[in-house]
């Protein structure tokens, strides 16, 4: 089967205005994936499905990933250019002594990496028996730009799995035929698989020796719980 780089090149040749990049997987599995422009995702998916060399007719696994906003500390090594007074004329680049003389400043830069939601599709071919080709789609952010095109028109197996991603992660799929919650109940408000999901405060007192549970009880009951020992209430 073609490598992700070859598939990317063919996709770029076919869709010149789309952005397709290879996301490298540093682990030993080395299952690299293709990050695809959501605007052209349906066309790209259809191409992958119908291309005679790939024929990825089987979308095995659809899942979400939540990447919250986080602060990245990057160490940047900067070489301070030598002033003409010290004279760069006699500096030969091969000499290590001169290289160490060049002042290198390490600078720590804090950068706020914006959060996003990601949907991952694992594609295989039942006809040609190869795979996986991994597609990734990313939303703009985690709050108001959470819409992505649905690939259910391309692969029917996305139907329930995209509903699940919608339910648990809150990605709204455009063009999905029946986008409802699937595992949680319809009245539920939050998306439990998000990393910042907070459990609702629906604690009920029961005798327990676990400190974490007792802390919850103290937070929950403003007055002592009916059967709670007095020592454990605030």
């Amino acid at each position: 089967m073609e490598t992700p780089e070859q598939i990317r090149d063919r996709l770029l040749a076919r869709f010149p205005d789309a952005t397709v990049t290879v996301v490298a997987n540093p682990g030993p599995a080395a299952q690299h994936s293709l990050l695809v422009d959501p605007a052209r995702a349906v066309e790209i998916a259809t191409f992958l499905r119908d291309d005679p060399a790939l024929r990825l007719d089987f979308c095995s696994n659809v899942t979400g990933l939540d990447w919250p906003e986080r602060e990245v500390v990057e160490t940047i090594r900067k070489t301070v250019p030598l002033s003409p007074a010290t004279g760069a004329a006699d500096a030969s680049p091969a000499s290590p002594a001169v290289e160490s003389a060049t002042p290198i400043v390490e600078e720590k830069v804090k950068r706020l990496q914006p959060g996003y939601l990601e949907v991952v599709y694992h594609l295989y071919s039942m006809a040609l028996k190869h795979g996986p080709v991994i597609l990734r789609l990313r939303t703009g952010n985690r709050t108001d730009q959470v819409s992505l095109p649905s690939l259910t028109p391309v692969w029917r197996s996305c139907e329930f799995q995209e509903r699940e991603v919608f339910d648990l992660f809150g990605v709204a799929f455009r063009g999905h035929p029946d986008l409802r919650r699937i595992l949680m109940w319809d009245e539920f408000r939050d998306h439990p698989m998000r990393k910042d999901y907070a459990e609702p405060d629906d604690y009920e007192w029961e005798p327990t020796p676990h400190e974490t549970v007792l802390a919850k009880a103290r937070a929950h009951y403003s007055s002592p719980a009916p059967d709670a020992p007095a020592a454990q209430s605030p």
Partner: protein
């Protein structure tokens, strides 16, 4: 004096012949007959089957819209057993999720364990000793025998056989569970596989007991098939119902025996060749029609192939360790990266997608549940059939709600 006949809403009722065809030339029904309305076609009836319905194999609901007795719409409703397994997996260590995978498809904890162990081995780049690979094949194929036997029993139970085939099936299942119990300490929640091998070694006595069971299993299948396979009622009931076209099966991601009953040759034991399956000699049975009967028959044929694989594995299993002693089980921290590992479970492709950020807990822990995805086409299979057929079609899909809802 006859009671007054109820008034029909229809001003000019039309009599019906016994066959149901309209016969406008017949005289109208007399005062002693209840007048039949012209048609029921305008009235659709919405029935909620489940979540507590004996045919749904657990807490599963089908919202069925009926025209007469014909299904015109069917929406499956899940989530009654949802406990957010994937979030729990993110909040525990890699090893602590292993016993929890038993609870997904609680009939086949051995294959769930294997799929998870395989995904972690891909993620961390671990190798498995040869004896453990053979042991895994033995346990997975025993698990397949167990699952397919139960499925055949449950399917016939859904047809209304009042328990006899189910009890036959459960008698055999119990023998396999005895083997699992003597090896792992638990009948169903085995928690047996580890990253890079198996938890305990099988004694020679255990292997001998497994050989005896495998040798006797063919006889049980012969007996079971003599009762069921050629049975006229079973054939009339199962053949031609719930036909799944191969193109729809492929597109909908249907895997496992359901897919092969539709004639698509896709078995991960052959395609991926994970474990030591490339060394085993077995055939992949395929169906011609894709109906419920084919789905039953495929499972019976797969059991015969499993017996062949088991004979080879029990013959060839070498001596040696089942787990590399240097494997780090506690404090296990795979390098950042991600991996998707999948195996051919008895119900279809069970896969685990793991993302590691270098911490002791997975950043993302995703289960690809075969019976959840196989349910995608339930409505397509049931449209145009009666409710009684929907029950057996659902039975032939082979779901376990612990895995559907997670």
């Amino acid at each position: 004096m006859m009671p007054e006949p109820p008034l029909s809403r229809d001003p000019a009722p039309v009599a019906r012949t016994p066959g149901g065809a309209l016969a406008p030339d017949l005289p109208p029904a007399g005062p002693h007959l209840r007048q039949v309305p012209d048609s029921f076609h305008g009235d659709l009836l919405e029935v909620s089957m489940g979540p507590h319905h004996p045919s749904t194999h657990g807490v599963f609901r089908m919202v069925v819209t009926l025209d007469g007795e014909t299904i015109v719409k069917l929406k499956p409703v899940f989530g009654y057993l949802h406990r957010n397994h994937e979030k729990l997996g993110e909040n525990t260590t890699y090893l602590a999720s292993m016993p929890y995978t038993d609870r997904l498809d609680y009939l086949n904890s051995m294959t769930n364990n294997w799929a998870y162990a395989l995904a972690v081995e891909k993620l961390a780049g671990l190798t498995v000793p040869e004896r453990a690979e053979y042991l895994r094949i033995i346990l997975a194929e025993l698990s397949r025998l167990l699952n397919h036997t139960c499925l055949a029993g449950f399917l016939l139970h859904d047809c209304g056989t009042s328990g006899t085939p189910l009890m036959y099936a459960f008698r055999e299942r119990e023998r396999i569970l005895d083997l699992f119990e003597s090896l792992s300490g638990s009948r169903m929640m085995c928690n047996f596989q580890r990253f890079g091998g198996c938890r305990t070694d099988a004694s020679p006595e255990w292997l001998e007991a497994a050989r005896r069971l495998v040798d006797g299993y063919g006889r049980f299948l012969d007996e079971f098939e003599a009762l069921i396979t050629g049975n006229e009622i079973v054939m009339a009931r199962l053949q031609g119902s719930g036909i799944l076209r191969p193109d729809l099966a492929t597109s909908a991601g249907v895997t496992g025996p359901m897919l092969r009953a539709s004639g698509v040759n896709y078995d991960l034991r052959r395609v991926d060749g994970y474990g030591l399956y490339p060394r085993c000699d077995f055939r992949i049975p395929l169906g011609n029609h894709g109906d419920t009967y084919d789905r039953y028959m495929i499972r019976v044929l797969e059991m015969r192939e499993s017996i062949k694989i088991l004979r080879q594995a029990l013959r060839d299993i070498p001596a040696g360790p089942v787990l590399d002693p240097k494997t780090k089980l506690r404090g296990f921290r795979p390098k950042p990266g991600e991996a998707y590992g999948r195996i051919e479970g008895p119900k279809g492709e069970i896969g685990f997608y793991l993302v590691s950020d270098g911490s002791p807990n997975p950043y993302r822990y995703r289960v690809r549940p075969p019976s959840f995805i196989n349910l995608t086409i339930l409505e397509d299979l049931c449209l145009g059939h009666t409710v009684a057929d929907a029950v057996i079609i659902l039975g032939s899909v082979d779901i376990v709600l612990g895995e559907v809802d997670r």
